[in-house]
Amino acid sequence: MDLTTIWFLLVAVLFTGYFILEGFDFGVGMLLPVLGRDDRERRVLINTIGPVWDGNEVWLITAGGAMFAAFPEWYATLFSGFYLPLLLILLALIARGVAFEYRNKRPEASWKRRWDHAVFFGSLLPAILWGVAFANILRGVPLTADHEYAGGFFNLLNPYALLGGATTAALFLTHGAVFIALKTVGDIRDRAAALAVRVGVATAVLAVAFLTWSLTIRANTAAIALAVAAAVALLGGLAAAYARREGWAFIGTAAAIGLAVATLFTALFPNVLPSTLDAAGTLTATNAASTPYTLKIMTWVAVIFTPIVLAYQGWTYWVFRKRIGVAHIPRH
């Protein structure tokens, strides 16, 4: 396997990791006003992701950095082309990150309510927009021969991409509900489990529709197999959620998200950003890549440090493995 393929895989793995991990963070954020009926319940919800959300978000920063280092043309064209969606994602992530930290720093109900809005919209907006962005990457966008984006904002809001946005939002919502059922005790756990099944059925319909549409745009055997596996994992996860096997349910939704992202990347390869305008504008893993020397250095760094990161992040989840409930929330 040549270096550009390895780095295509690594970027794909980083985004997959990001969507699996921050996927449930987004889900918890979107469910804050739904499952959290009072302040203490909302604090339970936020504290299920409290120790880990920041580490999860670094997957995005690493994915962005890896894209910049390994495929500068892809990074440059994509980030300048998808300008407004990325701006909205950034604003949402700013509001949401600060909200987690500041929400409980003052006792006033109005203060907390405002940050609750920030958590909700700060989770909903990226959950939709990441789907819109990745659907557009697969579908292709108008690129000139020198790799400049030639469309506007509304080009990105085509029906297929909007279905992609609805799908990621629904997937993250289900994933988040399953995560809450796994991490809490008491009434809130039961409500989360019931909600996961209800939302999950709608999610399955959306996901199957989106993946099928994706495969009609571009596909290969591996992508089709991955899409089928994603659907099976999601249905398995939902069955486990229905049976109240919460650990298995979480593995199911996590695998479904991972396999769905893998489907998109596999269908995309060897392109990284196809052009719908001028075929010469299409960016591929080869023409967008850095030099072999840079890729070789980056490969060594990734080979050494990725296992270390996985080990200590995994350990964090082990340390905070206990379920929490309203009894664990201090009164002040």
Binding site: N47, G50, P51, V52, W53, D54, G55, E57, V58, L60, I61, T62, G64, G65, A66, F68, A70, F71, P72, E73, Y75, A76, L78, F79, S80, G81, Y83, L84, L86, L87, L90, L91, L93, I94, G97, V98, F100, E101, R103, N104, K105, R106, E148, Y149, A150, S290, Y293, T294, I297, M298, V301, F305, V309, Y312, Q313, T316, V319, F320, H328, P330
Partner: protein, 470 residues
């Protein structure tokens, strides 16, 4: 004004803003780790109180550093895509390594530290704050190595077919002499901010409530912070001096602009105050110390220092027609304000130490006022330092290789950049107000009371509230 100007303003505003939080994160992470280590070693409760107290201020600030940092990484691709294409082969690597090696470490272990007070064994919990602090400081190195490539490009070649810069020697990029000296200079500047914050908050409590039972804790914090401030001020000066000499070699125009030195001189005198003509080509009035500039730039009191006009002529011959000097009043004043504000913070730290000599407790209202503005001084010094070094490199984005105006995104419209500039400025301004109010609120609240909550004592372990919760 066009899209280029707005993109430049956005980069300036978002970067200066980001760097208001970063120094405190860099410095305070280590200082909090030291406080917790002191508690671990001595068992003295005042250190635990200080750890939790300053730890809270650290976290309020940390959140802002994190969220404004993501903007920085995205901004290169969004607003500066041609720059990203040109340098991606070199510049992307340190950014990616920073995320993988340093930022994961920092953010994961911060989470463990915040929520791990009652979940981890004491020693392991202490290790988590050190891991986070090391991650934070390590991340600064990679970012500064990337920036140093823009200041003094090394370890690369220009591919004649693509016109892009390509990495040829990664070790050279990481050991760029500008990076090696900018790192200690920046870290020392960060400790200047963190030390000053320690002093300001402790002094406020000492003077307002001299008979509080927590006075020993605040006395320690004020002294510790003052020493940190003084030592880092010394380190800032030493590293700054070396950096000035290196900068004179790699970017003589920046240093000539810092001095408002229009014509080459040997020996050159240091300008304390120079007023130039409005178009910046001539000086009208100047107050000078003879030989000093020669010594500062070259280490030799009779050394030759190139002037702006001569460098302009040299660059025109080398790179073609164009204006190769930065905006002189900005470089001249930002350089002086950087030094002035830094020295002022060190002077206040000296006063605070003097006020506590032989076990005295400071009482002066004047000292209190000075102490309260103290953290703002190194913050301003840091900002002016970055404004100086970045504005002083202009018109280059990569010195000698790419002009800033050639790095901007061609496909991004004026409306889009203006939208993003406005949105970031507004949200940043609102968050600045919120963050300052919270910091003041928690600084005023003082060190926490450590007596355990009576109603949680007898509950069984599974039901006990978390020691820390959002």
């Amino acid at each position: 004004m066009d899209a280029l100007d707005v993109a430049r303003w956005q980069f300036g505003v978002t970067t200066v803003y980001h760097f208001l939080f970063v120094p405190l994160t860099i410095g305070l992470s280590i200082l909090v780790a030291i406080l917790q280590t002191l508690w671990h070693r001595t068992g003295d409760e005042k250190y635990l109180k200080l750890t939790k107290f300053y730890g809270k201020l650290f976290l309020i600030n940390f959140a802002m550093g994190v969220v404004t940092g993501i903007v920085q990484e995205f901004q290169f691709g969004m607003n500066w895509s041609d720059y990203s294409r040109f340098v991606g082969d070199i510049f992307g690597a340190p950014l990616a390594i920073e995320a993988l090696v340093a930022f994961f470490l920092e953010s994961t272990f911060i989470g463990l530290w915040i929520f791990g007070w009652d979940r981890l064994p004491k020693r392991l919990h202490l290790a988590t704050i050190w891991a986070a602090a090391i991650g934070t400081n390590l991340s600064a190195y990679f970012i500064l190595a990337a920036n140093s490539f823009m200041q003094n490009p090394v370890g690369y070649r220009i591919n004649p077919d693509t016109g892009r810069a390509e990495l040829t020697d990664f070790v050279a990029v990481l050991t760029n002499k500008v990076a090696l000296i900018t790192f200690p200079h920046t870290i020392a500047g960060a400790f200047l901010v963190a030390g000053s914050l320690l002093v300001a908050v402790a002094l406020w409590h000492l003077i307002r409530r001299p008979d509080s039972t927590d006075t020993p804790a605040y006395r320690f914090a004020a002294k510790f912070g003052s020493w940190v401030t003084l030592i880092s001020a010394t380190a800032v000066m030493i590293t700054g001096d070396i950096q000035g000499k290196i900068m004179t070699q790699v970017q003589p125009m920046k240093m000539a602009a810092a001095e408002g030195l229009y014509n080459t001189e040997s020996p050159a005198s240091f300008s304390v105050l120079t007023v130039g003509s409005l178009d910046g080509s001539r000086e009208l009035f100047a107050l000078k110390i003879p030989y000093l500039l020669s010594y500062l730039s070259t280490g030799d009191p009779n050394g030759t220092v190139s002037g702006i006009n001569d460098l302009q002529a040299q660059y025109t011959a080398q790179y073609g027609a164009g204006n190769y000097s930065p905006i002189i009043p900005i470089t001249y004043w930002s350089f002086r304000l950087m030094i002035g504000f830094g020295l002022a913070a060190a002077a206040i730290a000296l006063l605070v130490l003097w006020s506590q000599r032989k076990g005295r407790t400071p009482t002066s209202r004047w000292l209190l006022r000075a102490g309260l503005v103290m953290p703002l001084l190194p913050l301003a010094a840091n900002s002016f330092g970055w404004i100086f070094t970045e504005m002083g490199r202009q018109p280059w984005i990569v010195f000698g290789e790419m002009l800033t105006r050639d790095g901007v995104s061609r496909s991004v419209s004026m409306t889009e950049v203006l939208t993003s500039f406005t949105a970031f400025t507004l949200i940043y301004a609102a968050l600045a107000v919120i963050e300052c109010k919270l910091l003041i609120r928690y600084a005023k609240a003082g060190v926490p009371d450590l007596t355990p909550d009576p109603d949680t004592d007898d509950t069984d372990d599974a039901e006990r509230p978390l020691a820390f919760a959002y």
